[in-house]
Assembly symmetry: C2
Homo-oligomer: 367 residues x 2
């Protein structure tokens, strides 16, 4: 088992990564300090619950915990205020008190939603993440929890740190291939922003990663979590530095908003966004090789790099204006300076972004 | 003008109390550090907005701010997730960004709701309270923001401090008499828990207070805010000490929940609750004079001290079980030890509370 510590002063917490951890989840809850006398609420979705909830419930009960569960329909559409209210209702009816904790068993949707409930039920109770997707290595570090508003993604939320993250690699074996690639998009993003060696490692080991080799996955998740933890540790509330994590996200979020959540998976959308950022970098005078390398890495991981024709520039620009990266009338982008290094550029001209979007649609060569 | 500083480290903020402050609200927003380039959202209710919103908008615009407004129907029923979502929609459509701030113009309902939006819009933006009720002297200090769940009051929320509180006493002149008394219930509560002299001062000056003498009101609000600020400063996230502020609230919240929000005003409900706590104290062996004095103070402020017959003990007990003061199967009450001094008693027997509820219904003498 690998353990990473996210250093955030009194809100520091460990991430345990390894095989066969689910069966010890009761012991982890004890280690996290969750009271035995107060009910725990396990939140999961309709795909993950049949696969892993019985094990988790069993492990918690045998440790002496009372368990309440809430299962909602799988998919981004559930990351809504309506489901948030439903989970709140379950928590109240299940008798959760201030010493209770909420366990998020699932991917980023479960983590973000359950985390937002934990952050705001009785103004905040205990919280544990049990990620079951590769993408959730990203969402389980950093303390961002949220639901979507019909007009904009992740618009409603809080910063709220879990007491612990328990990452059982065995759960990843049931992930569909597109979800695997989508999750790896955030892993390679962590390489692209701060760690050239890791980014190239991902390309070299793309086959093992896509084949769910647990050794390779464990390493990629450890690196991905560590890099994110380091960035977040320096800027818990996203006042500056942490913005580098948004590489590919301004365009990516717009793609998700315009296409409708779920047409492209999150990682697929940000892959296109990362290709777009590299194009933007080239337009701003950075080396074209950054774009070529980025695209080859993404392609190796079976990720898309082209924007489909039907996404209109107008719609995408409009969506970006609702995005949090649009500050006081100017656009902010994370721009790659090299593989493994980025900078935050404010004041980016709207017209340049439009051009990039148009070029991203070109099938073979965007130049 | 009186200024109190709530000391909470980097989250410290000033409370300005005085006459004629609304017309300078633009300057206060500057002092609070709100960016001129990002729209401000003023949230108010259907009673307060016609009275004071025009002045506030005018003052903000003349300072150079863009202003978006959201007005919801007055009353506790609006402290809901549905209205929360509506305000979020206005904020997004109005183009609020991370440098924007939300101004709560109104009583505790506006403050709690708008504060919860500010705490969670884009994971937290600027927030200012402009209280227009006496009761809001309480809700504007302490950083508790929340909405109600149909099953329990204030169940969904956060701790979130305003950047500033601007308390214009002139706005209190339009308050209906019951609202005046209700607000004074929280003021005298602050005396009852920590300041004997202030509690007796309230009884002596009850007539001036009820007649909205601004000198007396200014003093009462200054003392009320200061006492609460001191308690909160020692326990920002309600880990222990701060619980003393809940004097009268366990029973009070149950009365509100059972009667339906709005039958009794919040201050009226907690007045009955404070009478109940004093009765409970007597049952636990404390001096009966505490009860007699408490009741005389509440009566002087035109507050109720009797529970109407139709409130069944079963319903009230059931409501308390959903309350946050019910921890791991035991009841916790704040018990007066003397006028101006309380203690936190866990492990209170359910049966004793039932007896108190029954006695609270006796018209003349509860003994
Ligand atoms: N909080 C953050 O910092 C942060 C960071 C990145 C992404 N996110 C959010 O995360 C979400 C995307 O995360 P995600 O891709 O994990 O989404 P997800 O939770 O919807 O999971 C994707 C799909 O895979 C299924 N699934 C999950 N685990 C499985 C397993 N082990 N086997 C089989 N199927 C499984 C789910 O049911 C779902 O259908 C988005 O809402 C995004 O905004 C948040
Ligand atoms: N956050 C906290 O720490 C805290 C503390 C105490 C109470 N509260 C909450 O505060 C709420 C009660 O506060 P409230 O009594 O101020 O309620 P409120 O905001 O509903 O105001 C009471 C009524 O007075 C009207 N009103 C407000 N200002 C007026 C004015 N100047 N002139 C004429 N009418 C006016 C309102 O429209 C409303 O109808 C409850 O929801 C309670 O839970 C919160
Ligand atoms: Zn992402
Ligand atoms: Zn109160």
């Amino acid at each position: 088992m690998r353990t990473i510590r996210v250093e955030l002063g009194e809100r520091s917490y460990p991430i345990h990564i390894g095989s066969g951890l689910l069966k010890n989840i009761g012991a982890y809850c004890q280690e996290a300090g969750f009271a035995l006398r107060s009910p725990l609420l396990v939140v999961s979705d309709s795909t993950v619950a049949p696969l892993y909830l019985p094990q988790v419930e069993e492990a918690l009960r045998s440790q002496g915990y009372q368990v309440v569960t809430h299962i909602f329909p799988a998919g981004e559409a559930s990351k809504s205020l309506a489901v948030y209210e439903d989970v709140m209702t379950t928590a109240i009816q299940g008798g959760l008190d201030r010493h209770s904790a909420i366990l998020a068993l699932g991917g980023g949707v479960v983590g973000d939603l359950a985390g937002y409930v934990a952050a705001t039920y009785m103004r905040g109770i205990g919280f544990m993440q049990i990620p079951t997707t590769i993408l959730a290595h990203d969402s389980s570090v950093g303390g961002k929890v949220a639901v979507n508003h019909p007009l904009a993604k992740n618009m409603i939320g809080a910063f709220y740190q879990p007491a612990m993250v328990v990452y059982d690699l065995d759960t990843l074996l049931t992930l569909p291939p597109r979800q695997v690639s989508s999750g790896l998009a955030e892993a390679i993003k962590h390489g692209l922003i701060t760690d050239e060696v890791f980014a190239y490692w991902c390309r070299e080991h793309a086959e093992e990663l896509l084949a769910l080799d647990l050794e390779a996955l464990g390493y990629a998740l450890e690196l991905g979590c560590s890099i994110k933890a380091k960035v977040v540790g320096n800027d818990e509330r996203e006042n500056g530095l942490r913005a580098v994590l948004n590489l590919g996200h301004t365009i990516g979020h717009a793609i998700e908003a315009v296409g409708g959540y779920g047409v492209f998976l999150h990682g697929e959308a940000i892959a296109i966004g990362m290709a777009g950022s590299a194009l933007l970098a080239a337009k701003l005078g950075r080396d074209r090789a950054i774009y070529e390398e980025t695209v080859s890495m993404l392609t190796a991981l079976s990720l898309p790099i082209r924007l489909p024709e039907q996404y209109s520039e107008d719609d995408l620009m409009e969506a970006m204006k609702h995005d949090k990266k649009f500050k006081e009338g100017k656009m902010t982008f994370i721009i790659p300076e090299a593989i493994g290094s980025v900078s935050i550029v404010n004041d980016i001209d709207e017209q340049l972004v439009r051009e990039v979007l148009a070029q991203l649609k070109k099938e073979d060569n965007p130049w």
